[in-house]
Every structure is written in C-alpha cells, then in structure tokens.
Amino acid sequence: MMLTVQDFLQIDFPAMLAALFATVSCGLLGNFLVLRRQSLMGDAISHAVLPGIVLGFLLAGSRATWPIFLGALGAAIVAAILIELVRRFGRVEPGTAMGVVFSIMFAGGLVLMEQAAAHSVDLDAECVLYGQLEDILWLEATGWGSLIDPVALAGMPREVGTLAVITAITVAGVALFYKELKITSFDPALATTLGIPATVFHFGLMLMVGAVAVAAFEAVGSILVIAMFICPAAAARMLTDRLVLQLWLSVLLAAIAAIGGYLVAAFGPFLVGGEHSLAASGMIAVMTGILMGLSVLFAPRYGVVSRKLRERRGEAGLETADLA
C-alpha cells in the first residue's frame, strides 16, 4: 500500500481540512467559554441543537444543509435563553441550569428522531453523536494541480465548504470584537458600565458556538465537539497569561490535534502491524486530551512538573540562606 498523491488528495486531504476547520473554529471560541467558566456551554449547546436538527430535517424532508442549520441555530438560541432563565428563576448554579436544559432538549431530540425514523432511516443518533470524517472524500482530485483547478475544487465536499465559511466567520468575529469579547469575558459589570452590552455578546457567542457545533457535528460528531471546545483553549490557558497569545496557541494546538490525530488514526495501526485504520474523529479528540494533559504537566509556569521543580529549588534556596 503506497500513498499516492491522488490518494492523499482524495481521501486524506479533505478529511484533514474538515477536521482542521472544525477544531480551529471550536478551539478559538472555546477560549471565551473557558474564560467565562462556561466550558460546558459547548457541551450544552452541541447537544441542545439536536431537536433543531431533527425539526429542520423533518420540515425540509432531506439532509440539505440550510434547513438543518437554521433549525440548529434556533435551538441553540432557545437553549441559551432557557439556560439563562433556569439559572435566574430556578436559583441554581450555572452548571445545573446547563445540565437541566441540554439533557432535556437532547432527549426531546431523540424522541423526535425516533419519530423521524418512521419516515426515513437517513438520520440517526449515531451519525449525530460521532460524525464520520472518513466519508468526506474529494474524488475529483487527480493531482496537486487540482488544488488550483476550479472545476475540481467545485467537487470539494459540502462539509468542507460549510466548515470553511464558518471558520472564516468565527475568525473574523473574534478579530472584530476582540476587545468587547475580552472585557465581557473578564468583567461583565465593567463592560456594562463602559457601554458594552454584555448580554448581547453573551448571546452572540452562544449563537457562534451553536453554528460551529452544527457545522462540526457532521464531521466529528457532537460529543467530540466538546473536546475541541474545551481542550485546546484550556491547554493554551495553562501556557500563557496573555489572551492574544492564548488565542494563537489554542489555534495551534487545535491544528496539531486535528492533523496529528487524523494521521495517527489513518496510518498509525499499519505501523504497528494492524490492518484497519481507526476512527479519525475519536483519535482527534484523544489527541486534544493528550495535549491538554501535557500542558497540565509541563507548562512552563503553571505546569505540575515545573511548579514542583520550582518549589524544590525554592526550598533549597531557603536552606542555603539559613546556613549562611
């Protein structure tokens, strides 16, 4: 089995591209979720969109992108509002509010889906939960030249196009509203006194999270999306105190997880004598976890290892000071 340029372009390139876009856009938004201590919002939203997806599917009668996407966005908004309401009026902590809302909405989605299954088997819980990166094929590719050939590029799978657009919007949104996002994340009260509507940004962020979660769920599945939201951002947070640097680092880590995870899943088993590739989306999520673990251990300032080393050095320093 030789990897030809054509094979690479047909099978691996589009899947890696989809994975890259999905992880980068999730990773970038994840920074603000982590800063707001709302990491689980990614989890909540990505599950809560299910009823919207099913409704969009039922109303449109097909797996066309737009109805599903709009349904999901609607559900994301509903979920964000419900979480806010439950938190305020239910007198519970935010985590509880999220847990209540997303699990109920997800359950509603499952019930709807069983109903939808009566009409078609085209939509099922598993493809929503786990995604299928391997199905993203670019069969029009014949060689490197295809990358600049508009005819061949037109055959690029829809998922890649959707994810590219979403990623562009995410990056542009974060770049444009960087200052506002930063202030509302760190100090919503200050933001309000400065005339920045924290609530608007909160819901704006939730909307983006919903959009990204939906675009990514087809490729990597809605459970694994959670890893993409949290891990790169949390890992980057361990590495630096500067927000700009953290954003760049999270994007870099997300990209490493996407490409590295894909390559390990696709080719790793063959290197150790296996015969079948592994599921790429799962391996990518594992990769984000490994990166997170590494930065918890070895981050220069906050890492466990470096702190221990510093403590020891500090104690040693004290002892010599005592002796002197």
Partner: protein, 333 residues
Amino acid sequence: MGFSNVFSPRGRVGAFRGTVLGVIASAMLMLAPSQGKAETTLSVIATTGMIGDVVRNVAGERAEVRQLMGAGVDPHLYKATRSDIAGMLRADVVFYNGLLLEGKMTDALVRVATAGKPVFAVTELIDQEYLLEPPEFEGLQDPHVWMDPSAWKKAVEVIRDRLAEVDPEYASQYEDNAKVYLSELDKLDAYAEASLKSIPDSQRLLVTAHDAFNYFGQRYAFEVMGIQGMSTESEAGVKRIEELVNVLVERDVPAVFVESTIPDRNVRALIAGASARGHEVVIGGELFSDAMGAPGSYEGTYLGMIDHNVTTLVRALGGDAPERGLNGKLAAR
C-alpha cells in the same frame, strides 16, 4: 530516506511540506504489503461476508477478495474506516448489498460510485415485486434478501455478469463457476424447503432478535417475528416485548432464537417474560442473520450459514433434519 529532494524544497514552506510528505510516504513504504501481484489478479471488495463468499466462488483463483465486515459484524452499524475507503478506491470492482443494508456506509459507497468506480449492488436484479416493504419504513425495502437462497441466486447472477463485464477475458470461467454454485444453491433451497416442512404447522413461527428473516419466512411459509425492527439501530419497546410474550404463551412456542450479530438481552427478556407467565421457552440456538460464522469454518460460508440456520431451526422446533446438516459439515453440538 531523502524524500525531501523528490519534492524539491523551495524555501521553508516547501521544505516543511516536503518533510511532512516524506514522513507519510516513508511510513507508507514501511507498511507496504505485497500488492505487487495486483496485475495478475482482479482485486474485489465486498462489504459483507455473504457477498464476499459468492465472489470467491464465482471468481475462484482469479480474484483477490477482501470483505470489509468480518464475522459477527453488524452491517447496519458498520462504519467505513480510512483503509476501507482507500481499498474501495483502489479495487477493480466493489460489490455491496444495497437496499440500505450498509446503513452507515451508504454515503461512502455513493461517493465512490460517483467517482466512476465500478460499484455494484448485488440486489439490483431482484424483482421489485419480490421485495418486501415493511410498513414502518415508507418506501424502503427490506435488505435481508440472502436469507432466501432462491433470491440470493439473483445476486450470484449479478456478480457473474458484472465480473464478466469488468474482466471479459475470464467471462467463461465466471460462467462455469457460477453454474456450479447456482446448482449448490438449488440443492440448499430444496433441503431447506423439505426439512422445514417437517415442522408441525402450529410451530411454524420464528421469533428472533431483529427483523432479518422476512424473506426466509416468505419463501418457506414461515411466520417470523423480530423483537427489534428492520435495522438494529432502533431499540425494542416494552410494548413489543409484551406482544411477543403474549404470542409465545398463546401459541405455545417451544423455542426462540438469538442472532450472532446482536446482543441476546432482548431475547432473554422474552424468555423471562414467558416464564413469569408459566410458559417455558428455550433458546433454540444461534442463527446467523447479518453475518456468517467464523472464517475458515463451514458456517463461515454462505451455504454453511443457511444450512446451519435451517438445521438449527428445524431441530429446535420439532422437525426432522440431520444433525450435521445438508452436507454433513456442520459443527457437532
């Protein structure tokens, strides 16, 4: 290995790209198994074991057959991996069941087919009138046609004709092999018909884990009931279990059956349910529904699989069948 010179690095970006590809390419070289003889044999990919087995019988030595789903794998739930996709893109012919049996692979199969690969559904020749449309699936047909050997003959014909089309040089060989194999299927069909007839009329009821046996029931005048629906995706409702327990008790059914690809949890629930109402039901045996038995064994072939199902069924429901089946090759129990 100096792969970077192949990609003639221009500046840092080029060098980086060269290195990445170099690493991948050298990884691929290390694992390259013997694909060199691809010139002399036809490389065929089959999704399920049943299809792979037919291809092996029809093509003989001429084809190297790779089946994607192994023994005990549930085709409704199987997802294609990267190596499967790469294999399909590289194969000379791809055969799949169709009728949405390969639920999770449908997208991949369609995409590979649109790329101009010869991808064929072995059920394409089967009469629309023959196909069953279960009421719970509007407009969708039951994919489990291999359960009826007389219908599966159509699949043999598709495989024979399509192989001849792709590889005309060996057409007569395919023709001869198919003839022999089709007569084996006729024998199997006759055996099934005769031995199933020996089951008393009141007991001609087959209760299994999912709805895989409808064609079987249609062919041999057998009533079939599955706990789960057509696809193993949907879970059985409590109501369904209750209905079936009622049937078991009322009709005094002696045995129910488990399937090799499906956990037996639901079937055990049935037995417990019937037992709570004072009716003892046993597990009549394990049937092969969506996948064949262990590779290399007789049950690991299509003939053996159906032989095993028929023989197990007949003996558990009070009919007459030789213990070792039609060909005397079934594993002794």
